[in-house]
């Protein structure tokens, strides 16, 4: 159980073949292990796919989590909007 407390690693999965073309999935893992190894936290998410066409052309396409982006945007908008309201309120008094 001698693992590092915090680690971020990128991994490549097994390539998938579609005729002559090839698709390689990549994932990113954030791992936090409690000292002593008695538990921890793992966040594993898809990061990108590598597409290699039959002609040999390679393209990396990132996999974005749109739901999380929208959630974070709404949170940021709420904080920013509240800050603006607070500043306007202070200026009007």
């Amino acid at each position: 159980m001698s693992r590092s407390v915090y680690s971020v690693e990128n991994q490549a999965g097994d390539p998938l073949h579609l005729g002559q073309a090839k698709l390689v999935p990549f994932s990113q893992t954030v791992r936090i292990t409690f000292p002593g190894g008695y538990g921890g936290f793992v966040w594993n998410r898809p990061s990108a796919v590598l597409w290699q066409s039959a002609e040999g052309e390679e393209v990396v396409i990132p996999v974005h989590d749109k739901t999380r982006r929208i959630q974070l945007s709404l949170l940021a908008a709420a904080i920013f909007g509240s800050l603006i309201m607070w500043i306007i309120n202070r200026l009007l008094r």
């Binding site: 097994d14 929208i70 709420a78």
Partner: protein, 149 residues
Amino acid sequence: MHDTTANITPNEGPTSGHESLILIEDTMDKFIATADVEKVYGKPIMNGETLILPTAEILCAMGFGVGSGSGNQMDGEEKNQSEGSFGGSGGGGGGRVLSRPVAVVIASPEGVRVEPVIDPTKIALALLTAAGFMMSMLFRMMRGPRNND
């Protein structure tokens, strides 16, 4: 969305401390296995010449602990207990695994594209939370400074 809850109780029944540790180590290994790339990408689906690859995000948290203790026989207790000392050990833990679809990778001989999976429920909840936060801030500002007299 798919939620699962897992709980482990290493000392269910007459298990020794060593067995508990083995069980904990096995559980820890399963927990570490969630970090594998194969867990994030689902089974590829072939539809004619098109390959569909579902992707998901996995969040896994768990914790457990074990303990043992021993003590001497107290004065008021029966003396017929052998050796006159007591000991015991126990442990427990819990964890949670959350997985959520993120996107679908669609590959065909013409090319590849990534279609996002949007969860309207989560967005609606975030919207309501953001609106509630702003409304509470607005009401607090309209009410003015609190008078402590």
